[in-house]
Symmetry: C2
Subunit: 501 residues, 2 copies
């Protein structure tokens, strides 16, 4: 008896092997989903000598990774960092990730990831990924421009993180014709998977896992163009179907604070939590299911906006504006109830350039109010008397001296806002874009083995990328998902491939 | 192979009935834990005609309920509300609970609870609970004093809740010799359970559930004074062991934001999540495991403190001070990083009365700074120039007019803070008491039936009180836990008692 048979928040029950009449496919490793995680898993398993069969829901692979900006968070002293003149160290990377990805990080995973990052860089470049050795100067942009492969994609240089770990740029971006291209990155990884010998079967939706009498996972039930298909996995099934940002019922149950005001990223056919639900149906534990990456990219492509100030409904500043856009999304949504504005003056304000072809840069600007004086702007916004006007007066006084005693914004972004008119850009939820993807998922070892609620490893079951809870436990920096996806996909597949058939 | 055999964050695996050689006890309904939930469950099941056996870890029952202030959140027009001259309505109660207990509430449970609240009042008084028909005037205290049975125990009259639902006092307090007494309340409920015929076995720790081949729960493995004991439950097992505030490993895994700065309430022998872990070990799903009630009771017993102002590390006000103490705990800890102070002047400041015998009222006061002027206080606290001094100037200007355009504190609490010296009472985490209990738990129907991750009801398994996720999904008002515990304990036990043996 089910509470609601059709509910998409429920686990997908595993099928007993006894119910399988005949296997349609027999292989060593079945990979479910062909985003960056699945492609990396397929490469790793195939190169380890395993027969690999990848099922992918779409007519071709790519997933959310193909729609991404192709940034991978790597460091510890990669060749790209060195070529651009930066020192980095696995220990500094570890300290930064622990501080910025918490609370409640998996320290063993962050340790493994930081220590292996240079190796992982070589693995990526060895499989056709190229990073252009040019650094995006911090003063120019927090995001890469044409031909620039390295940039800051987190809050490394911002207070308080700059006091916790030595900053280094760790955003490694894949470019195609000088532009960030997740699609191109996926073409390279999918080609490498085929080259390595993985069989890729599109138009196929994973439905349920198949378990033997002991509970070990031995296969997958899938649907291929309307027909049910049974795939036997002699060594293991690797779940790489992404998160659940597109599944409203799962968000409502597990992450209600993220529901409603946010916009899920990635293609709509994906990220419905199918892998997490299949894993749970085979007794996998799900953890940190309330966690999500929420991005408020008010300075994306409009770097001068960092010279403005962010204020809440009481006209108060609440954060140093130069922390990264993923911090901004979480802080604005969860700590300020999504009621925030960016205040700029005429010297900063720039409407989107006409004919802008980067849709991320031609960010929709909704102006909430324009006024000649702070007092008028305050009144226009319905803020209390002496709120925003005081904030501006104090900010300007210190900015003129290159100081921010309130929130310690880096001095390069400090200038008085005193060229009228003043404008309030509307960053309230419902008035701008809060991008969401989920961070919670199956509970895995650093080797990608899925654990049950008792902490036992479920033989034959592996998960990686956003289907698992990984490096970004609660907090996020750009590139961590693709970095974690490609790396954890490899770790899970390596574990599966070496398991006795 | 287990990740860590000794981990207290893992589920406790159920035992197969085949492994049970002989039953030591055979009964209809086994209740695990004897707090308010377990006692109410035992009464309900026994009065429905079931043979009931209660196992309790301690040498007598009581649990966190016995250490509580004995407040039950009831309403909808109870006899006590009427006797004190208040109208209330289940619909207003429903609206308030939905607004204050979210996000992500279980609306069906709140509907059932609001609609049944008057009935539940009669059930309680029918079993010996007495509520003294005297109301604590709001202007005097948000907490009951001697002989006062009814009070506000939430934010009903505070902005913005007062605009969402018609306020009514719903805190129904059990008094003993004029004092709030959870211990007395538990004596009454435990006596009623024995009166109804329930067998109560102390010194007994529930360890694992016993399941039959279909997965239905048929019994309990317990440890009684060092000896293992097998209890057969013909109709069902009701888990009522509280939450997991005393289990650091579970907090780290499921609710890391609540770990560390908070102090768990309730006796240390309880609230280690044993019931949740037993339920998970029998395939029960756990939901909202990140949720907790965090109380910052800065006005408890010091009602004039509501005339002060709460400020953050930047000297900014961030909330109307007259919201309830459970709101304050969550906001201070989760939105203000636990870095807050209460600013009072000499007309408000009162040290704890000498010889105070209510330990909750003789609240420890740590004064962070004292100064003659706002500017000096600001400097003493290390706040930036023109921060707290501005906040005080603006607050005082409007308070003199009986207005709070920033946060809408009720005018009864508004007065300028202008009698030197000024003091900052230290409410930072680590400097005062942030009381914690957890709100996440097993996923149950309104009838207390535990569901698995697929939404299927697990036959024979019931959970209630803080072992389940209930009325307070994320937000909290005092009395909701005892209200929910006693009510949900009854609902679960009624479901168990009527199940076919």
């Amino acid at each position: 008896m089910s509470e609601n048979e059709a509910s998409k928040s429920h686990a997908s029950p595993a099928l007993s092997e006894r119910e399988v009449q005949a296997w349609d496919v027999e292989t060593d490793v079945v990979v479910v989903g062909l985003g960056a995680t699945g492609a990396s898993a397929a490469i790793e398993a195939a190169e380890a000598g395993a027969a690999v069969h990848v099922v992918e829901r779409g007519w071709r692979g790519g997933g959310a990774s193909a729609e991404s900006t192709a940034q991978l968070y790597l460091g510890g002293g990669t060749p790209l960092q060195k070529a651009c003149g930066f020192d980095d160290d696995p220990e500094e990377m570890y300290k930064y990730l622990v501080a910025s990805c918490g609370p409640g990080v998996d320290e063993a995973k962050i340790r493994q990831y930081s220590d292996s990052s240079v190796d992982h860089y070589h693995w990526l470049t060895g499989h056709g990924i190229h990073f252009e050795p040019a650094f995006v100067p911090y003063e120019v942009s927090t995001h890469p421009g044409p031909g620039q492969g390295l940039s800051y994609t987190g809050s490394e240089r911002a207070h308080p993180f700059c006091e916790i770990a030595k900053p280094a740029p760790r955003g490694h971006t894949v470019l195609k014709d000088g532009k960030m291209s997740g699609e191109f990155m996926m073409q390279v990884l999918m080609a490498a998977a085929q080259e390595a010998g993985a069989v890729i079967q599109p138009d196929t939706d994973g439905e349920r896992l198949v378990v033997d009498a002991s509970g070990a996972v031995v296969g997958l039930v899938a649907r291929f163009r309307g027909e049910r298909q049974y795939l036997r996995a002699r060594r293991g099934v690797v779940l790489t179907t992404g998160g659940f940002a597109h599944n409203e019922e799962m968000l409502r149950r597990y992450a209600p604070a993220l529901l409603g005001p946010t916009s899920p990223i990635g293609p709509e056919i994906g990220d419905d939590g199918s892998g997490i639900r299949m894993g749970m149906g085979a007794q996998g534990a799900a953890v940190r299911m309330d966690a999500g990456c929420v991005t408020l990219g008010f300075a994306y492509g409009h770097r001068d906006n960092l010279r403005g100030i962010l204020v809440n409904a009481q006209g108060q500043r609440y954060v140093n504006e130069d922390v990264y856009q993923t911090n901004h999304g979480q802080i604005a949504l969860l700590e300020q109830k999504g009621q925030v504005y960016l205040i700029v003056d005429d010297s900063i304000y720039s409407p989107p350039a006409a004919g802008e072809d980067d849709e991320l840069v031609s960010w929709d600007v909704e102006v909430a109010a324009v006024a000649e004086t702070p007092e008028e702007l305050e009144a226009e916004l319905g803020m209390p008397p002496r709120s925003l006007s005081h904030t501006l007066a104090v900010y300007n006084e210190f900015a003129a001296k290159g100081e921010d005693p309130y929130f310690h914004k880096e001095s390069v972004w400090l200038q008085p806002l005193q060229s009228p008119p003043l404008a309030a850009i509307d960053l309230r939820v419902g008035h701008t874009y809060y991008a969401l993807f989920t961070l919670g998922g199956l509970h895995t070892t650093p080797g990608g083995e899925v654990m049950d609620v008792e902490g036992n490893i479920i033989p034959g079951l592996y998960a990686a990328g956003r289907t698992a809870s990984g490096i970004p436990a609660q907090g996020y920096n750009s590139g961590l998902s693709l970095g974690d996806c490609t790396f954890s996909g490899r770790m899970a597949a390596a574990s599966a491939a070496k398991r006795s058939a």
